[in-house]
């Protein structure tokens, strides 16, 4: 593995929050599981022209799940390689299939008008760079174990094989803005094992080795002559300078449902019921007593009380 430059950014990403950082060509953006696996969502923009941004629909040409060596690619008509996945563990499923959760998702599925959600968190994160909620785009979702059947219907798996300290490293092939948040669904789906945990975002400076990796990518895949930019358009809107991303000094995000409040209660199970808890733990499908009880209760609710709606109409919970 290439050695990276100095760690220049180290940010604890609390549940119900998101954060955007500029990442320069040759630098490595790392996401670390601070406690364990769960879904996170990312958006990626050209730092000097936010009209150019990642497109998961074009990235799906590499597969619904991306691997080491695959690329973050910008939407048509730009169609440029923006970043490359350098390192990850096998248990980390990088999904480009699902759509980010939003306030409307929780209203449609659970009749809740207040629940932390990716759309609002990402909007607050990119707001620091002058972008509005309408500037969000389809997300890249590391640690998002989607599965699909032969009819193309998808459902959610879990992240129970993910370990504390697992990480995803993404090499910047151009100057970008990357926004990441802890997915709002983690306490309502198997992706977070029905719990919300913090993650960590780190940025490593470019090194001679990472610069060499960038060089090698473009030797193999030289920039395409037909990647179009506004200088090629006969209809344009605004001045190029309007689309450069600049940090707003003193910006304060306004995250809803932050911080996540926790209620602890003591319950009593009969010996017979507790046997079921022990068996689930022994099988490795639950990590401890608390996980077994909480997962059972919330998963039961989602299976039996979730509202059928096209906004949340995937199989499983």
């Amino acid at each position: 593995m290439a050695s990276y430059g100095k760690l220049r950014e180290d940010h604890l990403l609390e549940p119900a929050t998101g954060k955007a950082f500029p990442v320069k060509k040759g630098e490595v953006y790392r996401i670390v599981t601070e406690e364990g696996g769960q879904c996170v969502d990312c958006q990626i923009y050209n730092l000097f022209d936010y009209r150019e941004h990642m497109s998961t629909s074009i990235m799906r040409r590499q597969g619904f799940h991306l691997e080491k060596g695959d690329f973050v690619i910008s939407a048509s008509p730009r169609n440029r390689l923006m970043m490359q996945f350098l390192d990850k563990q096998d248990s980390n499923i990088i999904d480009v299939l699902v759509h980010r959760c939003s306030a409307a998702y929780f209203e449609a599925g659970w009749d809740m008008v207040s629940h932390t959600n990716c759309q609002d968190m990402l909007a607050e994160a990119i707001g620091e760079y002058g972008l509005t909620p309408d500037d969000t785009h389809a997300v890249l979702c590391p640690w998002t174990n989607t599965k699909f059947d032969n009819n193309g219907k998808f459902y959610l798996g879990n992240n129970r094989k993910v370990k504390k300290g697992d990480h995803l490293d993404i090499l910047a092939l151009m100057d970008v803005l990357v926004a990441t948040n802890v997915c709002g669904t983690n306490d309502f789906t198997s992706l977070g094992d029905y719990w919300q945990r913090p993650m960590r975002l780190q940025i490593f400076e470019a090194s001679a080795e990472t610069e060499d990796l960038v060089e090698k990518v473009f030797q193999r895949y030289p920039p395409l002559k037909t990647s179009r930019t506004p200088k090629d358009f006969h209809v344009t809107r605004g001045e190029d300078a309007d689309f450069v991303l600049k940090q707003t000094p003193g910006y304060k995000p306004q995250f809803n449902d932050y911080p996540i409040e926790i209620t602890e209660m003591e319950i009593e199970l009969s010996e017979e019921d507790y046997e079921q808890v022990k068996k689930q733990i022994a099988l490795g499908i639950r990590s401890d007593d608390e996980d077994a009880v909480r997962t059972a209760v919330i998963e039961w609710y989602c299976a039996n009380r979730r509202i059928h709606h096209p906004m949340v109409n995937y199989m499983g919970y």
Binding site: W110, M112, H115, T116, D187, F188, Y194, W195, Q196, D257, I260, E261, I262, T263, E264, M265, E266, I267, E268, L269, S270, E271, D273, Y274, E275, Q276, V277, K279, Q280, L283, D289, E290, V293, R294, A296, V297, I298, E299, W300, Y301, A303, N304, R305
Partner: protein, 62 residues
């Protein structure tokens, strides 16, 4: 003659501490209002756990 019948003893219980997010508590509160599984969290959580085991692993559980 001495009564040899065993005196019934209260079922032994196992205490478990469980944390929920405030967003999950909204769901639990709805189940409490529904009343089907009990009037308190202490009642309804074990009852829903049993329902889940039945639904997921079958009547006899695992």
């Amino acid at each position: 003659m001495a009564d040899t019948k065993e005196q019934p003893t209260a079922d032994k219980k196992v205490k478990i501490k469980v944390r929920f997010t405030h967003q999950q508590m909204v769901l639990l509160e709805r189940l409490k209002q529904e009343g089907k599984f009990g009037q308190s969290y202490e009642e309804l959580i074990p009852a829903v756990f049993r329902e889940y085991v039945k639904q997921t692993f079958g009547l006899g559980g695992l």
